[in-house]
């Protein structure tokens, strides 16, 4: 695995994404998702909203890094809020 140049920070990141996917899979088995309309402009399933949360969070971080020198942890907090909003009301 040395060729993959792991750091504990990236391992934590991928672990969190992997855990998210595992939870989503289990949730899908236990409570099969229904497509629904929220504040997003199209009907989405739980998986769609998870993907939108991840992609949106990535771009929140990108915008943060491009625009400000403030700590990135604030962008992560903002992303968590955004993800919670999309997952619950999206």
């Amino acid at each position: 695995m040395a060729w993959m140049a792991w750091t504990w920070q990236t391992a934590l990141f991928f672990g969190a994404v992997g855990l998210g996917l595992a939870v989503m899979t289990l949730a899908e088995i236990r409570w099969p998702t229904q497509s629904r309309r929220g504040f997003l402009p199209m009907a989405t399933t739980r998986g769609d909203r998870f993907f939108i949360s991840l992609l949106g969070s990535a771009f929140i971080h990108i915008a943060w890094l491009a625009a400000t020198d403030l700590p990135v942890a604030l962008a992560s907090l903002l992303s968590l809020g955004y993800a919670a909003l999309v997952m619950s009301k999206g």
Binding site: W3, M4, A5, Q9, I62, V72
Partner: protein, 288 residues
């Protein structure tokens, strides 16, 4: 209630393994590289998100990004209508259809670097057929010294190479429309435009979605043809993201910044394709 049998998912497991080995693990490695300063395999330094910050504030990256988006928008705006038009002009049956299909397929069979070489010679103002003809008409044209000429040549080259893909996909879509639709339109006295708008275009939606997605992704990743034709010049006027990335990764061997660049590039393509796909599907759901 009948319970779903999920054992079929096991059949997908080999594909998942192959994708994990060939795509996911390399992508994770790129992400790992993007947060480190890589000196060699064993010597590396964690730098956090510094490479991302540096890349996002690099004027050359932003200029290459703007050029990239402009190029993609330009070729899509040219190739999609032209591909539809060519497909509509083609006979749906008969010997001529086969001849058309063969002619259209030829550019798709030519390797990208060969296309670059063909156009490099074809567009030369001194010996190239196109370049010499344009010059003989009294038009000042030189793609090696004029940014505008370089862009026009690149766009023409891309159209020459890829419009036939759009045309072939649209032809397949048109050939699948049952004749009864045309007969009904004729009985209603529909004009040629109305037939296209209300009969053909709705039936072409699926193939056009595929065509636009393929051309969007491919134009966003274009590398070989402009590299061979213009080398990114004159100046940096035709240096797109992929060329700039290659100069960082291979030319300067800056693996950390190049990895951060790659992740940003990947996310951009992912976002654009997802936005396009979602908007098309949404329109389809609303129309249904």
């Amino acid at each position: 209630m009948q319970r779903a049998n999920n054992r079929a998912w096991l059949a997908v497991a080999p594909v998942v393994l192959v994708v994990a080995f060939t795509a996911i693990a390399p992508l994770m490695t790129v992400v790992n590289y993007s947060v480190q300063d890589i000196f060699d395999v064993h010597t590396r330094l964690f730098v956090g998100l510094d490479w991302y910050r540096e890349t996002l504030r690099d004027p050359r990256f932003l200029e290459a990004l703007a050029r990239q988006l402009g190029f993609s928008a330009l070729v899509l705006a040219l190739e999609i209508p032209l591909g539809i038009w060519i497909a509509r002009c083609m006979p749906l049956q008969g010997r001529m259809t086969v001849a058309f299909l063969i002619v259209l397929a030829v550019p798709l069979l030519i390797p990208w670097n060969v296309v670059g070489v063909i156009w490099q010679i074809f567009a030369r103002p001194d010996i190239g057929l196109l370049g010499a003809a344009v010059t003989a008409l009294g038009v000042s044209y030189n793609y090696t010294s004029s940014a505008l000429d370089a862009w026009i040549t690149l766009a023409l080259m891309d159209m020459w190479h890829w419009t036939s893909l759009v045309a072939l996909l649209c032809f397949a879509g048109l050939a699948a429309i049952p004749p009864a639709y045309y007969q009904a339109a004729e009985l209603d006295g529909a004009s040629r435009w109305q037939v296209f708008r209300h009969v053909e275009l709705p039936h072409l939606k699926s193939v056009l979605t595929i065509a636009v997605l393929l051309r969007l992704m491919d134009s966003l990743m274009i590398y070989t043809e402009p590299f061979v034709l213009t080398g990114g010049g004159p100046g940096a006027s035709t240096t797109f993201l992929s060329q700039y990335l290659t100069s960082m990764a291979v030319g300067q061997f800056d693996l950390g910044p190049a990895a951060a660049f790659s992740v940003l590039y990947f996310l951009l393509i992912l976002l654009l394709c997802w936005l396009f796909y979602t908007s098309v599907m949404k329109r389809g759901d609303e129309a249904a």
